[in-house]
Amino acid sequence: MKVLGIETSCDETAVSIIENNTILSEQVYSQTVHESLGGVVPELASRDHIKKLYVLACEVLDKSGLAISDIDAIAVTAGPGLPGSLIIGVSFAKAIALMNKIPIIAINHLEGHVFGVKLSYEITPPFLALLVSGGHTELIYVHNWGDYKLLGTTRDDAAGEALDKAAKVIGLSYPGGPEIQKIAEKGDPRSFRFPIAMLHSDDFDFSFSGLKTAFALTIRKLGIEKTKRNLANILASYQDAIVDSLLLKLDRASKKFGINRIVISGGVAASKRLREKATVKNWELYMPETKYCTDNASMIALAGEFYLLKGQQTPMNFPINSSWMLGTPLSMK
């Protein structure tokens, strides 16, 4: 079954064609318009998706050597994400399905990331998945493909968002993670103490807003000159506080559920520091290659193929759901 996947949930426009878990062709365009703005600006993201989606779809078809009539089904991200961005991918996908009279399936973006690990590894559930990016921080118990339990999520900012916001405060470009990492590599992560939120709570939720405030207060207290002199140390300490917070809850969940097989994915999973610190844990660790950690359409097509082969599809009148929770049905209001 040849599945065309479409992903436009945030600031990546992505199209892919897969067949039998194998990528035939894929394209991802990462929007650059947000770089100097400290974060994704939804209106600009929507405008950019409209400019790029058709062009990418043409390129993917051309590179695969396939015609649109060769496609058997469409899989598209319907949430969670930015409403204005989601709706572009969904409208585009519905038109293709309607014209070609082929099934369409709405895919949860987070589930796409769970399936995305299959793009780098052969892996069998059960496992724990930590999905961590600029928009999400979720800890998921994957009982089986398509069978999930959300163990914990962030109560405020996503981990990647905490990095982006800190970068914005000190004038680094978006996305903040790679910029912070570059400077932090030269610093000592033990030199400043930042709080790890919800350290003593017995759930698996995260919180990063307090940490972000602590960062802002620290640099304000130090002043411009001292902050500049200590920037590498401050950023190394701040980055470690985020990484430690993530790994602490993951470790607890691993112990509580007796699951040693761990997947870490999402944009923040590209962080070298997270990879270093996760690798030394006694886990059977799966961290997809960087291009499949970030948003892509192959993971959406893969999840789509799984459901389509089970005979499922979504009625054409499905809505987008910008806060679609993993493991819950897409509301059909």
Binding site: S36, L37, G38, V41, E43, L44, S46, R47, H49, I50, K51, L53, Y54, V55, A57, C58, L61, D62, I68, P83, G84, I87, I88, G89, V90, S91, F92, A93, K94, A95, I96, A97, L98, M99, N100, K168, V169, I170, G171, L172, I183, A216, I219, R220, I224, T227, K228, L231, M316, N317, F318, P319, I320
Partner: protein, 244 residues
């Protein structure tokens, strides 16, 4: 970029029979028309606030099935390109791009959304003003001379504050007001508020689109972009210091 297959087009397009699908999602309505050349065969106008993306495919089906036309048989799309609701415009633009990906022979023409309202009064001696809600106490507005077969802008489509637009309207002796903000405009001049003032008519969209077809003003799918009329300039990030 995909190359469209060569399609033979006669020198005079009005000698060809063309199946035209017209789409307007610039307001709370989905307005669809199916026509053969400039003759409207079937139409749907339905108020669907915030449900355009959900209902557009089904309504296209509902439009074409009773007249036994397959979507694949459509030769031309007439797209109401704006100004109007950004989300609405992007839904129909992405939808048309999806159709174009599926049928290389499909061609698209674009029509100014405000002109569609004015087209209803073609060959009339009045002046037509169109006001469509642009949020934040602003409107997309335009004023047209409709004494010919096709509206000629006296004030071209633009973004105005309500006050500013009313001042402009007060310079005319008499106006017909159209658009979803028309009933909220208070002028000091004589105004006429017709029935269905808020609904962009598929018949008029088709008429304008057909004219674009005759003039061969086709827009390729990769160049389709809503007419926003406003640049989006986000606020500058507050920076403690510039580490760069």
């Amino acid at each position: 970029m995909r190359k469209s297959r060569f399609i033979w087009l006669p020198l005079f397009l009005d000698t060809l029979i063309m199946k035209i699908l017209s789409i307007d999602t610039s307001t709370d309505y989905i307005c669809l028309g199916f026509g053969i050349n400039d003759e409207l065969i079937s139409e749907i106008s339905l108020r669907v606030p915030k449900k355009h993306s959900q209902l557009l495919p089904q309504l296209v089906r509902n439009l074409l099935e009773p007249v036994t036309v397959d979507l694949r048989d459509i030769d031309i799309i007439t797209l109401s390109i704006g100004p109007g609701s950004y989300t609405g415009l992007r839904i129909s633009t992405a939808f048309v791009q999806g159709l174009a990906l599926s049928n290389e022979n499909l061609r698209t023409v674009c029509v100014d959304s405000l002109t569609v309202y004015a087209q209803r009064f073609q060959n009339c001696k009045e002046t037509v003003a169109v006001a469509v809600d642009a949020r934040s106490k602003a409107i997309y507005g335009a004023v047209f001379d409709v004494s010919d077969a096709h509206p000629t802008p006296i004030i071209p489509s633009g973004v105005f504050s309500v006050k500013e637009f009313v001042q402009k309207l007060n310079c005319f002796p008499k106006i017909i007001l159209m658009g979803n903000y028309a009933n909220k405009i208070e002028t000091s001049v004589k105004t006429i508020l017709p029935n269905d003032f808020a609904i962009p008519s598929p018949r008029n969209l088709l008429a304008l689109g057909y004219q674009e077809v005759i003039e061969r003003k086709f827009i390729s799918a990769e160049n389709l972009e809503p007419k926003y009329l406003r640049d989006y300039i986000p606020g500058k990030a507050k920076v403690f210091f510039d580490s760069a």
